[in-house]
């Protein structure tokens, strides 16, 4: 039996419909491709009434299972018109070539505040390279504070960069440096700082969600929001 709605999806996630996860089984819906239909030709998004209490985790689980339309419907249900949910909703619309939704949501994405944070969260989800560098440059233009840049550097795959970033962070925001060292860099003798943990959690949550969601369309969305795309 294929899961057909949010609650079926939830059952599947908790293993109550084992056949949905049978080895070798085909995902419920295929991943989107460039060949996806335009909105006029597409059926409406699945009915997920009652999903207002869903979470971003539900969205990510739906996407992992290949239920991209269901994930979009969940995002539409839980979107409050600002923040990460709106950004992901717009990125998912872009992914689905739903230009009407993208156009509607883009002004909200542009209003996301602080604007630098989203760029850095996406940058933190990317491998080093021109795309990541461009996002960091844009974040700096938008007023990213030194500690945020130091944090990003402290998460670099390069050992030397990571160390230099951690040193920068120590001098910019020692409490956050301790928290990042303990949480992200495996220093077991360092204690997280209670004052810094909220900032850490907000930034790291966004970074981790974007990484799981997939960065491609979030990057493309930001390029459009910043007027750097078609």
């Amino acid at each position: 039996m294929l899961p057909v709605g949010f609650f079926d999806r939830a059952k599947a996630v908790f293993g109550l419909q084992k056949e949905a996860h049978a080895p070798g089984s085909t995902p419920a819906q295929p991943a989107p491709s460039d060949g996806r239909k335009n909105k006029a030709d597409r059926p409406p998004l699945p009915d997920v009434s009652g999903a207002a209490s869903a979470t971003i985790e539900d969205v990510l689980v739906a996407r992992t299972s290949g239920s991209f339309d269901e994930a979009r419907a969940l995002l539409a249900a839980i979107d409050k018109g600002q923040g990460l949910r709106t950004v992901l909703r717009a990125a998912a619309a872009l992914e689905a070539h739903d230009e009407e939704d993208v156009t509607k949501l883009l002004p909200l994405v542009r209003k996301d505040s602080p604007a630098w944070q989203l760029r850095l969260q996406v940058a933190a989800s990317l491998e080093p390279g021109p795309e990541r560098d461009a996002l960091v440059r844009r974040a700096i233009e938008l007023g990213a504070p030194p500690w945020s840049i130091a944090w990003l550097r402290a998460l670099s795959p390069s050992d030397e960069e990571r160390r230099a970033g951690l040193v920068d962070l120590l001098f910019e925001d020692a409490g956050l440096a301790r928290t990042v060292a303990a949480r992200d860099l495996g220093f077991t003798d360092i204690k997280v700082d209670n004052d810094a943990i909220r900032r850490y959690a907000a930034f790291a949550h966004g970074r981790d969600v974007i990484r799981r969601f997939g960065t491609t369309h979030v990057v493309a969305l930001l390029a459009r929001a910043d007027g750097r795309a078609e």
């Binding site: 160390r163 120590l170 001098f171 020692a174 301790r178 220093f187 003798d189 360092i190």
Partner: protein, 181 residues
Amino acid sequence: MSRPLLSLYSLDRQKLQDLSSKLRELLARDDRAAISALLGLGEELARRLAAERWAVGLFLRPDEDPLAAPIFASLRRVVKRAALEHLWTSESPALEGRLRAYDVLREEQDIAETIDRLLDSARLPWFLQRPGGTGGWLDDEQRETLSKRMEALGPALPDEINAFVEALSAMDGDALVHDRL
């Protein structure tokens, strides 16, 4: 355990900045030999530093960590020698409480705000912040303005505050207060 006493220091900001920049550069390079030399570490402490994954890891440990505590103490000694001159220590453990809460001072908003800045540890470099400790600094102009404003209130202030004001007025330049250096 007795309550710590607030001390007043003359602060050479440029020298503090120079020392801070030097330490930052050495930590970024992970040059442990140079860090040991800068802090004047003995053989045993230098060996501990050399055994760390990165030198910066040791400086991120808690102040009371048995490995890090003597290194923090060395760092603070070097800072004091380079950038601070001890001028005065209060005889009264009640001074901090008086400065933070005495109603005559609190009723004067500009005085209260400047005192709060002087006692705000978050404005100090990380290596001068100590858990549960009090510290902060004012530049020369703020210090002078504060001491004059408080002098004018002298008759209405308790002795421990007036002694502090006298020390603050007698010094030149930027001021730093701390109770655990």
